[in-house]
Amino acid sequence: MHPFTYAPVADAAGAAARALAGAQFIAGGTDMLQLLQENLVQPQELADLNGLGLAGITEEQDGALRLGALTRLQKAADDPLLRERCAVAAEALAASASPMVRHMATLGGNLLQRTRCLYFRDVSTPCNKRQPGSGCSALEGENRHNAILGGSEHCIAVQPSDLPVALVALDAEVLIQGAGGAERWVPVEGFHRLPGDTPEIETVMQPGDIILAIRIPAHATRWRSHYVKARDRASFAWALCSAAVALRLDEEGRVAELRVAAGGVATKPWRLMRVEQELLGHRLDRDRVRLAAVWASEGAVTRPGNAYKAPLLQHTVERAILELGGLA
């Protein structure tokens, strides 16, 4: 680890000023410490956000849920309101990392987790995301964990976090405070960026920006929802593929509202609009769900190492919808 200085911040304005002067933020530290240990980042200063008082989950007047950025993953996974009204988010959190990491890691930090691409995490190999212009080792290399959707010729790294996949299904937004103090809401769906020819730019975050909270709108808290995560072992592993589904059925049992998103397969949490369209207005039955789920991998670009993800994605989406609809 390269030397750095450390200090806690007193307020968001002070934190932003420190960031503009070159500091990087630390919250739970679970990704930052890995990045530091492996020399992937070399901050001159770490500014500790934990004093900002941004932890906790509250219900807003209109019924929306507000999740403070510094809420620990385990706290959120155990939160009665979230479990009851936004099951997909609680399930995604409970399936993230290990109990120890969940006690430390924060929701805000989870949105910003860097990719688990083997080459990104290994400074001895070329990687456009870590070192722009150096090349992408994954394209022709070990790409079993890499993306089949949303990639470019410059990068096919997966955004590895579970929570944002659930948040896309829940139509959630992120509250960001800019360096000048102005607050803005960004849909989670638009928070991460496609790699294109600038894979080093991963989100819409600007220098000095601080994530204050996540907001799940009132209408989504009335939906039924569910998360399914496929991984190499039964627990404690990043997703090879995951599916988040949130829906509302009308009185006749037809799909009135539906949002479906996938993780582990794409360069950002991936909304599956075609799957949604195939099911909207219809009753859920096994055949219809199976045929709709085939559209999940529409547009996929596979490589020898990750071609398995296309059928895995279809089946994971199918299973999530069937389980949610009580048809599994």
């Binding site: 450390y6 200090a7 530290g29 410490l33 109990p99 120890m100 006690h103």
Partner: protein
């Protein structure tokens, strides 16, 4: 608010005792425990949060001490494997590990035991499936998993 600094003189509360330690901002809680306080029961495996060997309790909750800066542990209560026994009396989870032969080389064991103590305290050791899920952040290269589950189940039923 203090100015950013590279060197700190901290007060760490470990196993009920206050320790003054001088650390660099980069020092992890794990390295502070092992190299400064010479509490070497807490083990270093991966240093990346992926093996659980360094598990300790922070304010009663399980954390991996390799992913925490020592400066960020100031003012919190840290419990390590050395803090479990009362004199010669083993903690019930320690006793259960001995009784069930829940280790071979023993390297992962302090982390396993701290994680089990946390899981039982959190009320998350109710069934074998729950124990397996809850202990999944603690890897055992010797594959002592079957006996670890038996030890945790036994300790949980005795404490619960």
């Amino acid at each position: 608010m203090p100015e950013p600094s590279q060197n700190f003189s901290l007060t760490l509360h470990v196993n009920g005792t206050e320790h003054r330690v001088a650390v660099d901002a980069r020092t992890t809680l794990l390295d502070a425990l092992r190299d400064r306080l010479h509490l070497t029961g807490t083990k270093k495996g991966c240093a990346l949060g992926q093996c659980g060997a360094c598990t300790v309790l922070l304010d009663g909750r399980r954390v991996v001490s390799c992913l925490m800066l020592a400066v960020m542990a100031e003012g919190r209560q840290v419990t390590t494997i050395e803090g479990l026994a009362q004199g010669d009396d083993l903690h019930p989870v320690q006793a259960a590990f001995v009784e069930h032969d829940a280790f071979q080389c023993g390297y992962c064991t302090p982390g396993q035991i701290m994680s089990a103590v946390g899981a039982i305290r959190e009320g998350r050791a109710g069934s074998d499936d729950e124990i397996r899920e809850q202990m999944s952040g603690n890897l055992c290269r010797c594959g002592a998993y079957t006996n670890i589950v038996a030890a945790v189940r036994d300790a949980a039923s005795r404490e619960g």
